[in-house]
Amino acid sequence: MKFPSPSSAEAVIAVTGLSRRFGSKVALNDVSVFLPRGCVLGLVGENGAGKTTLIKHLLGLLRAESGIVRVFGRDPIADTVEVLGRIGYLSENRDLPAWMRVDELLRYTEGFYPNWDRNYAEQLRQQFALNTSQRVRALSQGQLAKLGLLLALAYRPELLLLDEPSSGLDPLVRRDILEAIIRSVAEEGRTVLFSSHLLDEVERVSDHLAMIHEGRVVFSGPLDQIKQSHRRLIIRFETAQSAPPRLEGALSISGCGREWKVVCGDVNGKIAACAANLGGVVVDDQIPTLDEIFVARAGKELVC
């Protein structure tokens, strides 16, 4: 359940042992992530887990306190211009220059990228229904997100970094944005790092997944493999349990009375044995959803 090693020549992103503190808060703790060319990596984690901090390191906006960060085999701090020239980035802040008109912003951004594809940019503009004479400050949040994505895609970057691209957007805009990303990935085999809270989106777009929790990578690997390696068990006890049963190896336990839901790693045999000792029996055994895995790994479920 590991990505290719850092020595792989095809690794677009290679982060090894990256740590970063902000004052007393540990934002990233010995993080290692490797992303091969053509892969779509979904980066999930709760607020403040360190996703944006990791992305900022990839963009060269933060200097690594310890560890190594390489993008296209280069150091984003030392080779900022070369690295940024090959990355398309969409931030959750959408802090585009508010005073520009849309056409001015397109022309201005085009100046930075020799590979800017005017036809593709125009196609996206029409698809997103953006008015060229409108000022950026007059755009809605959804239009801003679309414009940001247009600017990130129009020069056909080798790597796309999307930091919460659909955060705070309505379902229609989210659909438009997601479709544009999926098309871009499907048609051109682009490498994408996609950070999001919305796990259904991540599941739809990504083929690899990494979860960050309190600055650490809890797990990473191909999405199917991650899902296959987790189980959701329903355990029924003979008598009602007043407190969650102690089941060694369980990631989360939720429920009440006689029936309890357990999410665990690939240790369901052990859990079943533990439950039997406590007078319980596994009545259902299924692959959990990504949501359930996320909640089990990141938080604690409520017991009624």
Partner: protein, 580 residues
């Protein structure tokens, strides 16, 4: 307990949050009269003679009160920068608009009152100057309430607000002088019936004005709270316009943006990132100087047709102001020229800009080129409009005669006049780029420290220097003969530090050898030009041979005029801003 009263409690809570957020700034402002009072006390003997007390006491007090007004600007911008008025986040609090506006106003009035009282009772008595408390505090409180009302009421009309605040500030200052000298008694003779005290009438007028301003503030903030902004659509300077097609609100930009839009716009694609960034810098920073110069020049020149011909004496005075105009504006604008966006309250780089594939060298180069274009454009406006103004509406003949007479007496006058133009252009550019490192650093504390530094560098040396100058005037005019060595030593230190910083930036890959070479060439070229001008223009034969102000000292002075060390800091500051 007062705060137990239901009506007082919300106001108390808001007031407490204002105090917690602003106490550091308020205490810093309050420290100015205390420090100045201590300094005045230390050297009070020297200050008590001549005009020293008035100059040294009232100037810092005036600046301190001005800064208090700036500090008490209780506003917040919305996320997109369309609105800069009463903080809209407070609109959702379960309190009346009256309470909302009363709390910051009470805080601001208390702040200005306390700071004035500190100057009047702690600082100025050390200089032998006694100021009353009652009417000045009432006067300043009225000014503060009016100021706050204007700031809130014109939240969407930034340029109109600037103009009105400028006029209001001037009226406030003139009114202060009038009240201080008792001129209001002469002004109100015949208006006030006999038997009534003019001073009391003036104070009553101030109270009425305060109430009026409070009502205006309440109406304006209430209107904003209820989303009544559409009433203002279509006014000059507003950025909101109703689209006839979509029915949605479309921002059409501020007045400056509309002017920029009206100018011919580039339609071609940019050949390189450097050119794209140059366009950005010109649109956002560079164009401000010529626009401001043109506007102020127009304000100076516009009344000319109605009072032509303007006398030679006035022409001379106005000409001095016109020539100083680009320099003064560049000095002010230069402090923000390095920022990512001159108009933004956020000093840091927005992510969008920080992630453009643009080297630091090209970024700084774009800023310097935009500054150069701004300088040349501003001076072109001055050099085209001023002769027209002189020719059409001014009595320039006598000025011309005087100048010709001076040129006949000394031929250097003619060449000095010609040389003055490129020197003024150079200095305008120098003012624009001199503080690039500050804005590029994106650090609020650096900007604040610089603001304090400007305050200290203006007043602290003046406070200490005037007695020193009075005592050692002769020594300053005829400094020791080792002055050139002192200047050479200072320059060597500056040059070494600049070279070390440039070397560090080069080592870190923040700047290229070519960029260092280019700026060095520009620097040497300008300094060489200045040295030649000094060599040709300064009448060395008139200087005493015993004075340290000899030829060598004068030749060394131009080395300090063009920024070297500060420019070396710029790439390092930008790199730190881009990656923290």
């Amino acid at each position: 307990m007062l705060i137990a009263v239901p009506a007082i409690r919300p106001a108390w809570t808001i007031g407490r949050s204002i105090w917690l957020a602003r106490r550091a700034g308020f205490l810093a402002l309050l420290s100015a009269p205390l420090i100045c009072g201590w300094l005045f006390h230390l050297s009070s003997r020297a200050f008590l003679e001549g005009d020293g007390p008035d100059l040294l006491g009232y100037l810092p007090m005036g600046l301190s009160l001005f800064l208090t007004f700036v500090f008490c600007n209780f506003t917040e911008s919305d996320r997109r920068g369309r609105f800069d008025g009463f903080p809209s986040r407070l609109f959702t609090l379960p309190v009346s608009t009256r309470t909302l506006i009363a709390t910051p106003i009470v805080f601001n009035v208390l702040a200005i009152g306390v700071i004035y009282a500190a100057w009047a009772k702690l600082a100025l008595p050390a200089l032998g100057r006694e100021l009353p408390l009652s009417w000045p505090i009432l006067y300043l409180a009225t000014g503060m309430i009016c100021y706050q009302a204007i700031v809130w009421a014109l939240a969407r009309f930034r340029i109109a607000r600037l103009i009105i605040l400028g006029i209001g500030g001037s009226v406030l200052a003139l009114g202060w002088i009038a009240l201080r000298r008792g001129v209001e008694r002469e002004l109100l003779v015949g208006v006030v019936p006999n038997g009534l005290d003019v001073h009391s009438i003036t104070c009553a007028g101030l109270v009425v004005m305060s109430i009026g301003a409070l009502v205006l503030a309440n109406i304006a903030v209430e209107n904003q709270r209820r989303g009544g902004i559409s009433k203002w659509k279509g006014w000059p300077g507003t950025d909101v316009e109703q689209s006839s097609q979509s029915g949605k609100l479309h921002a059409q930009g501020t007045l400056l943006e509309r002017i920029a839009d009206a100018l011919p716009r580039r339609q071609k694609r940019f050949d390189s990132p450097a050119r794209a960034q140059f366009w950005f810098e010109w649109r956002r920073h560079g164009s401000v100087l010529p626009l401001a110069t043109g506007t102020v020049l127009f304000v100076i020149i516009a009344p000319a047709p109605f009072c032509a011909p303007i006398s030679a004496e006035r022409v001379g005075l106005l000409l001095c102001w016109i020539i100083a105009l680009p320099l003064l504006l560049a000095f002010v604008l230069g402090k923000g020229f390095g920022k990512a966006d001159l108009w933004s309250k956020e000093p840091g780089l927005p992510l969008f800009q920080a992630t453009r594939p643009l080297s630091n060298t090209h970024w700084i180069g774009a800023k310097m080129k935009a500054a150069a274009l701004a300088t040349v454009s501003s001076w072109l406006i001055v050099l085209v409009m001023t002769p027209l103004w002189l020719w059409l509406w001014c009595d320039y003949q006598s000025l011309l005669q005087e100048w010709r007479a001076a040129a006949n007496r000394d031929p250097k006058v003619f060449s000095a006049s010609l040389a003055a133009i490129p020197i003024l252009i150079l200095f305008t550019w120098r003012f624009l780029i001199g503080s690039l490192y500050l804005g590029l650093s994106g650090k609020t504390w650096m900007l604040n420290v610089t603001a304090c530094g400007v305050f200290l560098s203006i007043f602290a040396p003046v406070i200490g220097a005037i007695p020193f100058v009075q005592r050692n005037f002769h020594h300053l005019l005829f400094p020791p003969r080792w002055l050139p060595w002192l200047l050479a030593g200072l320059f060597a230190t500056k040059f070494t530090a600049a070279a070390a910083l440039a070397g560090y930036a080069r080592w870190k890959g923040l700047v290229t050898n070519r960029a260092i070479g280019n700026y060095a060439a520009v620097w040497f070229g300008i300094v060489a030009l200045l040295v030649i001008l000094v060599w040709r223009m300064v009448p060395f034969e008139l200087i005493s041979p015993d004075s340290g102000w000899n030829k060598a000292s004068f030749m060394l002075l131009p080395l300090f005029l063009m920024p070297l060390l500060r420019v070396s800091c710029a790439p390092i500051a930008l790199a730190q801003n881009r990656r923290r």
